[in-house]
């Protein structure tokens, strides 16, 4: 019998070949990095320069409707020690506000702020108030700004379907709030963090919060979305596959698959990145946390990388951000930061979303070498 490392089946061989082909074809796009020490007066100019390095905001958004998916993971009243959420697990409101202003100044017709608020169907503005944030500055930062909690059908009262090209790893498609469909440009405004089940949470993992609780939540409707069921999390359906999403939505390919969140979640993130293209990823790494994605993770601590990262391809952007965190974006399962999970960067690359190979990515602004902030050494 051959040693296991040489025991390549035909199926694995074909898969590897296909993956190699996709990797070769996976698109690449410029990523910009900037040093930004605070959320004060330097933020707006730094963010604007960052977008200019990507071709300018106007080219991307003039006359268009833009949806910003922000990252407000967990309860708004939960903090890492005495550190406010915006300096740890949440995208900082100043980053979101500055971005709204830049996009408004660049001619965006409408800016829609979207998030699936923690275990709740309450209006997003009320959720912000619970975190101690005033949404008023956002609403006046551009001509037409609206807020949407995407855990439910919301204003449109119906969902939009997003098929995963090629069928995806696990989910052949997703039904999501229409704020993600009724837009021309989708921006993921994420936080630079590690993640317990995905290794890192950046522009791509941020989009997991787009999945509505009415369909993918623990209490989701069995046959149809249940608009009164937006409570609790997505543990049963998404993390562990203990129950399916509402039958009305595309069903995951569960047969023979592990019910292990560290296998499932990276695939769901990769599938989402293919089904729901992100046109711009902006990652807030000014003040953040190391050791996990939220205060509920044991051993987390505040860190100050002082970085902003942005790019037009979410895989490329996340690959560069991963490198900025002191990790190898080419690492697979078993190597940091993917010691216990599969790499969603690799899985998204296999789907042809983008390349994670730094040698194929044009980096503008601060070089990666000058931006590295080692999260594990922090």
């Amino acid at each position: 019998m051959q040693p296991e490392r040489f025991a390549l089946t035909r199926r694995a061989f074909l898969a590897a070949g296909a993956a190699a082909t996709l990797r070769a074809e996976a698109p690449s796009s410029r990523v910009a990095i900037a040093r930004c020490h605070s959320y004060g007066s330097e933020l707006y100019g730094t963010l604007r320069t960052l977008l200019d390095q990507l071709g300018g905001a106007a080219r991307l958004v003039r006359g268009k409707t833009v949806t910003l998916k922000i990252n407000l993971t967990g309860s708004p009243t939960m903090r890492m020690g005495a550190t406010p959420a915006e300096k740890a697990q949440y995208t900082h409101p100043a980053v979101i506000g500055s971005l709204i202003r830049i996009l408004g100044d660049a001619g965006a017709r409408r800016v829609q702020i979207a998030e699936g608020c923690f275990a709740s169907d309450e209006p997003l503005d009320e959720f912000l108030l619970a975190a101690g944030w005033d949404p008023a500055p956002w609403l006046s930062a551009a001509p037409r700004v609206l807020l949407e909690n995407t855990n439910i059908a919301g204003r449109a009262r119906r969902y939009a379907r997003f098929p995963t090209p090629g069928g995806g790893h696990l989910f052949p498609g997703f039904d999501l709030n229409r704020v993600y469909a009724d837009c021309d440009v989708l921006v993921s405004v994420a936080k630079l963090k590690e993640h317990a089940t995905c290794g890192v949470t950046l522009g791509m993992k941020n989009m997991f919060g787009a999945t509505p609780l009415t369909i993918y939540g623990d209490y989701a409707g069995k046959d149809e979305p249940d608009e009164s069921a937006a409570r609790s999390g997505r543990v049963m359906v998404m993390h562990h596959g203990r129950r399916p999403p509402s039958k009305s939505a595309p069903q995951p390919k569960e047969e023979g698959t592990p019910r292990d969140d560290k296998w499932r979640m990276p695939r769901i993130v990769a599938d989402l990145s293919a089904a729901l293209p992100v046109h711009l990823a902006v990652i807030d790494g000014i003040d953040t946390m190391a050791g996990g994605e939220g205060p509920w993770i044991r051993g987390v601590r505040p860190v100050h990388p002082g970085l902003l990262v942005a790019g037009l391809n979410p895989v490329c952007t996340d690959a560069v951000a991963t490198a900025c965190m002191g990790f190898d974006p080419l690492a697979g399962r078993g190597a940091p930061p993917f010691e216990r999970c599969d790499s969603f960067l690799e899985l998204a690359e296999q789907l042809g979303v983008g390349t994670r190979h730094l040698d194929r990515i044009d980096v503008a602004g601060l070089p990666i070498a000058g931006a590295v902030f080692r999260f594990r050494g922090a």
């Binding site: 903090r79 009320e126 543990v235």
Partner: protein, 432 residues
């Protein structure tokens, strides 16, 4: 039963005379304690009554009542509530837990809402409560009894101390561990004796709950009060027939919870309140003669929200079947913009804001219902400009609290505490 003079909410400390104490000897133990009222459920034996009478007030055969049976139109003084719960952290459900993920709020058994209701509806009466110690509690857990006493005090009431049988026997025998138990509970009560003024401070709230708190309205009303307190949504309550414009002054919202249609004595103050810019929430079937409602209500899953003058009227289409939803809906309809305080990292802590009579000081009572280890990194935030802040913990010196300005307002991060903490804020009312 003794009759106490009315006019002050401050209550002496109460002790239920244990059955095991068959002679007056334990009175010597009580001499230097804060307990000045001795409760004899079955009447005081003559020998003990004679020895106690000069120095203690005796309350014999008290008519403890279930809260549901109290006629709030004539509650008496003191109000004796005999079905209090033992304040504690409820059992957590692990059904929805994930290895990594944000968690929900723990279940708490609390008397705070009940005591504040009693304080609202019987403002001139003493509010006394009792309950038997839990059967499964460790018999020598002084912290549990001290916490129960403090919970009542924080809400302007007093709890009759019931000695666990082992403690009663131990005290009679001058047992060291029983004496340590006794000293700890006395210490908690003594601390509150030095803070009687705080107990009279009224709730600082932007929500008024209007009901008769009786019959079919009792359950939704009391569940609402309980669950709103859990949301750190403080309220004041008033009996519907006694509603006056003055009750609505400074309020952002009023909830009329009763099934009966609004009739003029209640309707008119609420109509004026909405016209001036307030939010009125009531059942659609109880709208009675409400006038000037906009014909095109705003969309809401469970309410028709009409403009009415400068304010709004939210009419519930579906009734009050789910008190949790009702508390959430009222909170969000009135908006968190009107939150008096926000609490971060609350865990098993309940907070209740009160204010000084001149309204220049905001006092936040914080009770940690878990009592397992100290609550860490709890922050209290208020939108009201704060000039200075002070922290007091039982058994520790009063000291300044560090303040910081955050996006949501002024914020104080509290030091660890395992049972009770008071945060007193000097607020700048004119700038608020």
């Amino acid at each position: 039963m003794m009759v106490f003079p009315m006019g002050s909410a401050a209550s002496p400390a109460l002790l239920e005379w244990p059955q095991a104490w068959q002679n007056p000897a334990p009175l010597s133990l009580l001499e230097d304690s804060p307990f000045r009222v001795l409760v004899f459920p079955d009447g005081a034996p003559p020998e003990i009554a004679a020895a106690a009478a000069p120095r203690f007030t005796l309350l014999e055969r008290p008519a403890w009542r279930k809260q549901a049976e109290i006629d709030w139109r004539a509650p008496g003084d003191p109000v004796l509530i005999g079905d209090a719960v033992w304040p504690s952290l409820g059992a957590a459900s692990a059904a929805d837990s994930a290895e990594a993920g944000p968690t929900g709020l723990p279940w708490l058994d609390s008397n705070g809402w009940l005591l504040r209701l009693a304080r609202s509806l019987a403002p001139s009466s003493r509010i006394w409560i009792r309950s038997d110690p839990p059967q499964d509690a460790a018999p020598v857990d002084a912290g549990l009894s001290a916490f129960a006493q403090m919970e009542a005090r924080a809400h302007g009431a007093a709890r009759a101390l019931s000695l666990p049988p082992a403690i009663a026997a131990g005290l009679a025998a001058a047992n060291n561990s029983a004496l340590a138990w006794w000293r700890r509970v006395c210490s908690a009560e003594s601390w509150w004796q030095r803070h009687t003024a705080w107990q009279a401070w009224p709730t600082c709230a932007r929500l008024l709950v209007v009901s008769d708190f009786a019959g079919p309205n009792l359950y939704p009303a009391t569940e609402f009060l309980n669950l709103s307190a859990r949301r750190t949504l403080p309220w004041q309550a008033v009996l519907a027939p006694r509603l006056e414009d003055a009750h609505l002054r400074g309020m952002a919202a009023a909830l009329y919870i009763d099934q009966q249609p609004l009739t003029p004595p209640v309707l008119e103050p609420l109509q004026r309140f909405a016209a001036r810019g307030g939010l009125l929430v009531c059942l659609a079937s109880a709208r009675g003669g409400l006038r000037d409602l906009d014909a095109r209500p705003a969309a809401h899953p469970r309410f028709e929200v009409h403009r009415c003058g400068k304010g709004r009227v939210a009419l519930s289409r579906s009734g009050w079947e789910d008190p949790y939803l009702l508390a959430q809906d009222v909170h969000l309809l009135m908006s968190r913009r009107h939150d008096v305080i926000r609490l971060f990292n609350p865990g098993s802590i309940l907070a209740w804001p009160a204010e000084s009579p001149h309204r220049r000081r905001l006092l936040v009572h914080l009770l940690n219902y878990s009592r397992y280890g100290a609550a860490h990194d709890v922050a209290v935030q208020t939108w009201q400009p704060v000039k200075s802040a002070w922290i007091e913990l039982p058994g520790a010196e009063r000291r300044p609290a560090a303040l910081r300005r955050e996006a949501g307002g002024w914020e104080a991060v509290l030091e660890p505490f395992d049972a009770y903490c008071a945060l007193e804020l000097e607020v700048q009312r004119d700038a608020a």
